[in-house]
């Protein structure tokens, strides 16, 4: 795939559509092991992000992601705000001057996003956070073997589902200790929607 500003905007629009249609579900997941606001947070943040990017002209994907980062950072709050904000900021920085963005570039960008989020949240893989989705996705993109959107989506979905059996050691769910098991992590779910949206745009791009 090649990603220009246009595809980057399409990604945000699709992501927002998914956050809106799963608002209730994300809130339910967060009520089970968190504080019940993840759906509200995501829908609020991505709504604003779409408003912003669909009303602006951009030259490159990097420019799009920079605005997305600022909006998410200033509209979401909570734990997910700084994390998603950091993710898009790092992607924007890595992709500076890369236009159109190639699959290799994207792999680097997601890698950078992952590292930024780990630094910000001090979480590693396996702590039942969105990191558990970003990590395998980054690996998948990096190793570059038959990288197709379908596989990307699968990878993210599988990773999301695997958070169910993990006991949380970071984020609000960690307070539940053993009781956090048996529930899918809300942030991993919103991250899955994000990559599902990417895969969707990607498919269209082929």
């Amino acid at each position: 795939m090649e990603m220009k500003a246009e595809q980057a905007v399409a990604w945000v629009e699709k992501a927002n559509a998914l956050m809106q249609s799963h608002k209730e579900y994300l809130t339910e997941l967060d009520q089970a092991i968190g504080d019940g606001d993840h759906g509200l947070n995501m829908s609020r943040g991505f709504q604003e992000a779409e408003l912003k990017v669909s009303a602006t002209d951009y030259d490159t994907a990097a420019d799009v992601f920079k605005d997305v980062a600022t909006v998410l950072m200033s509209k979401i709050g909570g734990a997910s705000g700084p994390l998603y904000g950091t993710a898009f900021l790092k992607m924007s920085m890595t992709l500076k001057g890369k236009d159109p963005v190639t699959e290799a570039n994207l792999a680097e960008a997601v890698e950078a996003a992952l590292n930024g989020m780990k630094q910000r949240g001090k979480a590693e893989q396996g702590e039942k956070t969105m990191i558990d989705v970003w990590h395998p996705v980054a690996d998948f993109l990096r190793n570059g073997q038959n990288v197709q959107p379908g596989k990307l989506e699968e990878t993210a979905e599988e990773a999301m589902n695997q958070t169910k059996d993990i006991m949380a050691t970071k984020g609000r769910a960690a307070y539940l200790q053993e009781r956090s098991k048996g529930h899918i992590d809300p942030g991993s779910t919103s991250s899955f929607y994000l990559f599902q949206a990417l895969a969707d745009v990607w498919k269209k791009g082929e």
């Binding site: 709050g77 984020g171 960690a174 539940l176």
Partner: protein, 334 residues
Amino acid sequence: MVLMKKVINDPEHTVTEMLQGFEAAHPDYVKSLDGTTVLLRKEAPVDGKVSLVSGGGSGHEPAHAGYVGEGMLDAAVAGEMFTSPTPDQVFEAIKAVDGGAGVFLVIKNYTGDVMNFEMARELAEAEGISVEQVVVNDDVAVEDSSFTNGRRGIAGTVFVHKIAGAKASEGASLREVKRVAEKVVAHTRSMGVALTPCVVPGSGKPSFTLEEDEMEVGIGIHGEPGIERKKITSADEIAEELLQKVLQDSVDYKGAEVAVMINGLGATPASELYIVNRYIQQRLHDYDVTVTHTYVGEYMTSLEMAGFSVTLMKMDGELKQLLDAKVETPAFRD
């Protein structure tokens, strides 16, 4: 009772309307910072004084705006319901209150609060403002561990506001304010229980459900479930359980002087809080604890949740003097 029942307008505007109503109610104490969800102390910025900024998700009223005023906070930053405010909001607050002596952040230990406040701190430091912080983690319900994000900050946070604020009022340096704030954190432990859940406006569902005879022990202040679900017992038995958890933690309160806070989470009537206080005071006496200060009321709430928390702060000469120092805020006065 139907939990969804709320006296609100559009849930999207709950926080801003609340802040407007708060400012209208307490114009002698606070002023709003245009374009933000920040309420500033009327006199801010106070020249040469270390300024205190706290805040977090909304839904904990009177925290945090109720503690803005002389001897406590210089600014309170309100996030959405139960959602930490964003870095830009906290940054605006820091800039607005800085009187040249630096700004001190009181952060409750939640991943979101810590990340957002620290990002704001980075932005402020980049502009040459010196910033220090304390992270409050008084909730003994959660095991402390370096592998996790550790313990939550709950009602004990109010003692940090009071004492760090008093120190700052004395003209102490940023380092000194940080020192006493950390002392309060080291001396303070809390534990809470919920009899009913609460509903985030707009979410339309209770955060969890309890049977008619159940309670959640070790509850936080964001409607998240507690650490253990049990059958409701008597006021004395519930109070005893919370007290034991607090006493058996790492601070040795036995034989010491302490300040006690019986904090209502929202729906629990004052009469019940006083019934709890009666028992706690009796028991502390058994442990030969001398209670120097008692606070009974709603200080750190969780919307309309029914329940309460018990907080003990071990006193020393300095803390006593600072707790007694003059304070003039909407929700905390001497």
